[in-house]
Symmetry: C2
Subunit: 341 residues, 2 copies
């Protein structure tokens, strides 16, 4: 019964997110810029990004950029905003390629990952290619955009470096949240900030937009960590439990570890080939209905509430404000919290 209710809620949230996307026909322009940036006479440099793009994705970062610009009154959307939105998605795509190499992930969105399909050398280079294109797009904008883009990318890379299993023993809820903030929230914050900045929004609005982007990004990442435990392969598009197998300092893992549960101590040891599948299976079964997942969801909701509050502030501190785009942004928060994949 309660799962039925959740499904109804989810459907509504997903539908509202889909409706939000219809408010931004400019997403097609962003996609065109992204595709143009794949141009290369060296086949795999076009083929691999094309393949990754074909796997689909939520395009939540460009959507966020465009909706924030609209919400604070930009009309029509300028080419600068389209370029930043494309640049941010390209950075995200590059990190997906490099992440799959780091995690040796065979599957992404139900299909072979670029890493599995094209191998390490070409996938690594393809990520570098996209990073270069992204910087090319953002570097043509003003110094503020450049400085914030550099900062966001540095944080993103640092967040991923902090995530290496080497350091799992020393992780706490606080350090796990730092990782979520750096590796995921950095690009969300960049998207919201740049949209406001390029719209000429006042300082108070920019600050509120930054906090909105950052807290939304943290909530988004916490739910990612939850879904790794609660979802299934059919919905997730990849095997669940990877954070367990890869000994990642996910929010769920650190909450479990810090509980003192003896079973969690196994996370501090490298996977043992013979017993890992059984451990992951048992851990998933236990975690799905555990207090750790409940705590993580509660934490995500609290970040979602801060995102809502910051969005309120951003919208009340700007002279012009689009109701449609504003409502769409609230639905993005709901979607981040209630999505099933």
């Amino acid at each position: 019964m309660s799962s039925g209710t959740a499904t109804v809620n989810q459907k509504t949230t997903a539908e509202r997110f889909a409706e939000a996307l219809t408010l931004i026909p400019e997403l097609a322009d962003v996609e065109a810029i992204i595709r143009t940036s794949f141009q290369s006479d060296v086949r795999p440099m076009k083929e691999i990004p094309d393949y990754l793009l074909s796997l689909g994705g939520k395009r939540i970062r460009p959507a966020l950029t465009l909706l924030c610009a609209k919400a604070v009154g930009m009309s029509p959307i300028t080419s600068e905003v389209l370029n930043v939105a494309a640049g941010i998605e390209l950075i995200h795509m590059a990190t997906l390629m490099h992440d799959d190499i780091i995690d040796q992930s065979p599957i992404r969105r139900h299909k072979q990952s670029p890493y599995a399909k094209f191998g390490t050398p070409l996938t690594l280079l393809s990520g570098d290619f996209l990073l270069t294109r992204a910087f090319g797009l953002c570097a043509r904008l003003d110094d503020t955009v450049i400085a914030h883009t550099e900062q966001a990318c540095i944080e993103l890379v640092e967040g991923e470096a902090l995530e290496t299993p080497l350091y799992l023993e020393s992780h706490t809820l606080e350090s796990s949240l730092t990782i979520a903030k750096r590796k995921t929230a950095s690009l969300f914050r960049l998207a919201a900030f740049c949209a406001g900045h390029l719209s000429g929004a006042p300082a108070a609005t920019l600050e509120a937009l930054s906090v909105f982007g950052e807290t939304l990004g943290i909530a988004f990442q916490i739910i990612d960590d939850v879904l790794d435990v609660t979802s299934n392969e059919a919905t997730l598009g990849k095997q669940p439990g990877l954070d367990i197998i890869e000994r990642k300092p996910s929010i769920v893992n650190v909450l479990w570890l810090s509980s003192g549960d003896a079973a969690a101590r196994k996370l501090l040891q490298p996977p043992v080939a013979e017993s890992e599948a059984a451990f992951a299976h048992k851990a998933l079964e236990m975690l799905q209905t555990s207090q750790y997942v409940a705590e993580a969801k509660q934490l995500a909701r609290s970040y979602g509430a801060r995102a809502t509050e910051s969005l309120n502030q951003a919208l009340t501190s700007t002279p012009q404000c689009s109701d449609g785009a504003s409502q769409a942004l609230y639905s993005v928060i709901d979607f981040a919290l209630e999505r099933l994949k």
Copy 2:
């Protein structure tokens, strides 16, 4: 006797290159910018670049940037030129890190490679970190520098993608030279061009500087390919013959392949664990005194001659010109051709 003569010549060339470096005390400023860009509170993001820097290196790209600026009359060297020189070296460092992952190279400059010492995940991320810092430095300059930096990085990545063993069968001398041009000459050309551009050199000088940088870079890469065959581990700082073992479309390999020598056909097959060492050993022994190496050296000298000619043009087409820096640039060409490592 002839090897004795070569040593004397080399010593002179190396000495003249060392003298050239004394003309550019600003290299210390570039190094300071590079070190500052390693700052991070995430230890490996500072530790890995520090380690790579500690392995030494010729710093030929920053030296080229500074000498070109001086040669066309810039005095004093501006912070823009220092930033570009640092940015180009950072891009080079990032590609070394990523290359070692791609080639699974255990050794760099007599020591463990960053990849061998720190593993794929952190080395990959560290390369991304440096790429981001490099773009941060270059993006703060004008649109011309940004466009040329983006173009050079794209070419560099494309050149490396073309080099994957997958494609060796279809390689020719022409395609091998295309790879040298893209993967190596792109940054040399960028260094020379940006130095001229930021010095306000006239269009004819800029064009000549670009050709100088590009032809010098191609000569440099051809000699790299030659040294992989003719040098030894003590001098090279890594095992010779890696281009053979890794089935790279090096200039020497494609000349050998295109000769129709039956033994070269083995380059078209993947390495076979049991017989690879014997094959590489025999191939090296034969190649060292072969016509292919002689042809490759001749080819390098012809690119060196074009570099000299373009440098002449650059220096005669610019109103101001520093004799000391100009002479130093000629010694860089000699060094690129006659170096032993």
